[in-house]
Each structure stands twice: as structure tokens, then as C-alpha cells.
Symmetry: C2
Subunit: 331 residues, 2 copies
């Protein structure tokens, strides 16, 4: 079964994108030595003889891949950094699974320079034989549940038999195409991942961070370490928040937390949200500006855990854009 | 040791890039079921409790990630498809490791629409728990040898102690930064990888393919299956060629093979090249146009296995561009 059909999804209403610079680079990472591993043997060319492959030696690990899109005529003083969530890559911010322009294009059209990164270990950031733990793969059913597509018993292998939540805004016909974006993740890589995000903030300087899900958790932490680099931060469905409040002070930039729908249907997400709510309250008590877009409370119903891919992704982006322009600190 | 310093490499002589469309999509891939694997347990949030992770269930596998860059004003009738080599991703065609614009930018500036892909299993194309074999990681020393940076005994962990070939055109100060681009590969995935490239040719239609190293081998094969989709093919340091000549005919598009330097120093590469030479000869005998750029024979010395990253990458691109414009079949 082919799950991808690029031809079926022409993009409409596209405006040109005019860039003064488009490049990619890596931040972070270092050289590590692997030793004591057995030599293996693989056939690397069709019909060829097996070849000895020795992994022992020097490898680079911990690096993060970044794409930079700088406009010919930016209209805002801050670039936007788009940080994806767990088991994902920067592709999350590009074209939506059903073929509409994603938030990368939205914010370029809105006049912002944009940086898209793949978190350490994922996508083009690569991964390394130095990892002590095995990779974690998410099943389509797991994603269905965790991303609040529908009740867990509503998942079926056959797309025609799936039962999403009523009023679901995610383009369900493209759910399997969405799953082609998923990448493995690893446990216990928080310190290295954070180090790479810090290196990115250092490389870019004053910016606005939009972090989704696990990327929201990384954003909460990163701005506490580098508050001067961040003019504002948007936490899109953050999956967690720091436990510690020591060192929290009014010097932190404004925060915006964005929540979709279907929390009543998901106890795990209610628990995640309670953690974030407590952290937001602690921020406020320390004099930090913390705003919230509770979409259903605003009359915007049906958003999944991926508002940047939902059918109303452009409307959500517009709300986020307006908040940034009104609240981000001016240089 | 930090190996990446994006700030140190400003790009000069950049011209704006004006796009009528920029998007990404996936081609190929299908749903496969994993069963019978043990449930594992991982800590997915810092300080959180371990969680059961069950890989059994539905996964997508075999997909390929593609980035599409369409110019506001293309000056040629064919888009260019850039296919990277083994253990690499589409990043190979973006900014060079020492921070110069790569061939993606070069060919956009030259007036071609461009598609960059990550081969199945690599980079943003992700990989899958359905693979029967383990991943293969390349050491920095292995790359040093196989990419013809220098004699194998010239590799050292300390960059200052490395001894490349005299006159080496690869930006050696950025060798470790180059290694941050490397991704794992797998053996025996040729059929699935080829199926994804075929799906890409079907999605794009008439185009010019530039395939590097293993990507050159895939290009040799793909154009035999879909000769009408390819107006010309450039094989940049191809690491192999098809064994079979059955079905070869004069309907195949023009081929250009490009070779760098230091073959006298590398028996393995002389053997690879002999395979390609024999295949090129067979193509010619069947009436196919096969040209060659033997760079040292043209007085261009010092190119590594990665001419698109070497210091003279722009000169090599210009030679390739001229050949394409003169030889690619017009619609």
C-alpha cells in the first residue's frame, strides 16, 4: 500500500518566497571514540561479496541540524525558531501531511526569518553508535492515542475503519502520510539535546522560539538558561515543564501556551497539562508574563496535538503571530 | 570538543533565491506490522517514572523524504534531482561543511528547479523497526579512506595531525563538521530504495538526475526503468553500475560521468571505476551517449570523492551545468 501521493495535493494560494539567504548548518556535537565492539560483515553492493564493517573508532555525536531561511525583506526584528516534538523532525513545520503549506511557509510569508531544526538524534541530525540505549519506535496506534486523534479503540489498521473524535480538525485522510514523518527517539538524551538547543540560541541570538510538545519542554528550560537570547516563547501543546522553580525571575521573556481540544477524553494529557499549569502559575508569581490560548474556550473546537497540521492551522498561526508581534520584547 | 561553528563561516557572494513554491513531501512507503517483540521500559521524561514501550503494531516503512524548490523564473525546462550517496542525506547538497553555498543553491541560481531527497532509511526519511539487519556506522577514519581524503595512515583523531593527499581540494579544516552530516546505512535495502526513487521520478516527471556515489548507482538503474522521465543523467563519482546489460538500448538518455583525483592512490576506487567504465562502454555500444569529465585529465587536480564540497565545487558545477544545457533532451 502506497501511503504518499504528492501529486494529489497541489498547494493553492501560494505566494512567492524571496530569500536573501538559504543555508543549513550544524550546532553542537563532538568526537567520541567507540571501542571493543565486534567486527561485523555485510553485503554493501547488490550481488557483491560481504565486507567487514568495523564500528570501532571515532564518531561525531550530539550534533543538531538547522535550516536557515532569511527573507530579502523581513518585517520583524526577531527570527522564529521552530522546535518539533518527540519522535519527530523539522518536517513537522513544512508542508502538512495533506499538502498545505506549513508553519515554516506561514511565518516566512508573515515576514519573519525562520530556523527549522531536527533535534539531536533525529532526522538529518543523525544518531550515533555511542548511544547506550536502543531506539524507541512509535506505532500508528500509539500516535493515534497520544496525539489525541481519537479514542484508542477507534484506531484500526484500515484507514476506512478508524473512528476519530467527532469534529477532529486533523486531516485524518493523511494520518498514514503523517506517520511517514515519524522518526525513532531515545530515552535519557535530555542533557545532550538541551546542549544543542543552547548552541543554536547562541548561534542565532535574539529570537522567538516556538516549541511543540517535547520541544515545548526543551524551550521552557532553554529560555531559563539563556533568557537574553529569547524575546518571547510559544509553547504549543507542551508535554511537560521543568520541575524546579529556583532561579526563576521576572527577567524571563513572555510565554504563550497553546492548547487544542479533547483533553476531557485523555487522562494522560490532563496530567501533562496540570504540570504545565503549575509551572505557568509559578512563572506568574515570579512576575513573568504568561498568556494562554485555550482554543476550545475561545470557541475553536477540534484541534489535535498538532495544531500546526490541523485544518485550521493557518488560523492558529495567525493567533500566535498576533501574540508575538504584541508581546515579544523589542531589541 | 565542539566541531561546528556556523558563525565562523559567513557565506559571501550570495544572490537572492526567489521561489514560487517551497514544500516537502514523501514518496513511496507502506504500512507494515511488527509482532512478537518484547515490551520494553524507558524513562521518557527527566525524573519521570519508566514507561512501557510496545513496538508491536503498525509502522510505516520504505518512504523517502523530498524537498521541492521551484523558482519564480526557471530558465530551463528540466528540474534537477540531487541524489546523495551511501551513509549520507540530502544535506550533502546544501551548504558545504566550511560554509559555502552548495550545489542546491548553485543550480537554483543557474535557473533550475531543484529537488533534494534523503534516500530511504536516512535522515528525514526515517527508518523502521521492520529492518532485519542492524545499522552500519562509518568511522571518521573509514570515511577518510573511502572518500579519498588521504592515505589511510594519514588519519589521526587530532585534526592538526592529519595528513591529507597533497593538493587535496576538500576543505580539510571542516572534515569533522562534514562528519556531522553522516547518517547510518543498512545493507540489502536496494530494492526498497530503488522503488522510492522510481516513485520520485513518477511524481516529478521529466527531469535531470545528478547522482553521487551510491546515488549514482541508483541513478544508473532508475533511468533504465524509467528512461522517458530522465532527460539526462550525471553520475558524480558513481560507486558502482548495474551488472546486467539486457534491455539496454539507444532510448536511454545521455550520461555524464565525473571523476575526481587520487585514483592512483586507491585500489578499491580503481576497481569501482573499472566497473563503471565497462558499463559505460556497454552503453556506448548500444548507441547511448556517454561523456566523461576526468577532472585531472582536464588539468583540474586534487578533487576528493565529494566534488560538490571541494574548494572548486563551483567550477565543477559549472562544467556539469554546461554539459546539461548542451546534452539534456529537450521536451
Amino acid at each position: 500500500m502506497l501511503v504518499n501521493d504528492p501529486g494529489a495535493a497541489p498547494q493553492r494560494d501560494e505566494k512567492p518566497i524571496r530569500l536573501r539567504r538559504m543555508r543549513s548548518f550544524f550546532v553542537g556535537g563532538g568526537l567520541r571514540r567507540v571501542a571493543g565492539q565486534p567486527v561485523q560483515s555485510f553485503r554493501l553492493t547488490q550481488g557483491g561479496a560481504p565486507r567487514a564493517i568495523d564500528v570501532n573508532g571515532d564518531h561525531i555525536t550530539g550534533q543538531m541540524y538547522v535550516q536557515e531561511y532569511l527573507l530579502e525583506e523581513p518585517r520583524h526584528p526577531w527570527p522564529i525558531l521552530l522546535w518539533h516534538g518527540g519522535g519527530m523532525s523539522g518536517v513537522n513545520w513544512e508542508t502538512t501531511p495533506d499538502g498545505r503549506p506549513g508553519w515554516l511557509n506561514y511565518f516566512l510569508h508573515a515576514g519573519f526569518d525562520v530556523y527549522v531544526s531536527d533535534a539531536m538524534e533525529r532526522g538529518r541530525s543523525s544518531w550515533s553508535p555511542t548511544y547506550p540505549l536502543p531506539p524507541i519506535f512509535r506505532t500508528l496506534k500509539d500516535g493515534w492515542d497520544i496525539f489525541r486523534m481519537g479514542p484508542v479503540e477507534g484506531y484500526a489498521t484500515d484507514p476506512a475503519s478508524r473512528k476519530p473524535f467527532p469534529g477532529q480538525q486533523f486531516p485524518m485522510e493523511a494520518y498514514d502520510t503523517f506517520a511517514t514523518q515519524w522518526v525513532p527517539r531515545w530515552a535519557e538524551h535530555e542533557a545532550e539535546t538541551s546542549a544543542a538547543y543552547d548552541a543554536l540560541l547562541e548561534a542565532v541570538g535574539r529570537c522567538v522560539v516556538i516549541g511543540h510538545s517535547q520541544g515545548g519542554g526543551f524551550a521552557f528550560e532553554a529560555i531559563r538558561r539563556r533568557p537574553r537570547d529569547v524575546a518571547a516563547v510559544v509553547l504549543l501543546e507542551p508535554s511537560g515543564a521543568p520541575q524546579k522553580t529556583e532561579g526563576m525571575d521576572a527577567g524571563l521573556p513572555p510565554h504563550l501556551v497553546v492548547w487544542g481540544d479533547f483533553f476531557a477524553e485523555h487522562a494522560g494529557w490532563r496530567a501533562n497539562r496540570a504540570v504545565v499549569d503549575r509551572y505557568g502559575q509559578a512563572l506568574r508569581e515570579h512576575g513573568v508574563e504568561v498568556d494562554q490560548l485555550d482554543l476550545p474556550a475561545m470557541g475553536i473546537h477540534g484541534n489535535s496535538h498538532f495544531p500546526m497540521m490541523d485544518r485550521n492551522a493557518g488560523d492558529i498561526a495567525a493567533l500566535v503571530e498576533r501574540w508575538i508581534v504584541q508581546h515579544a520584547r523589542r531589541p
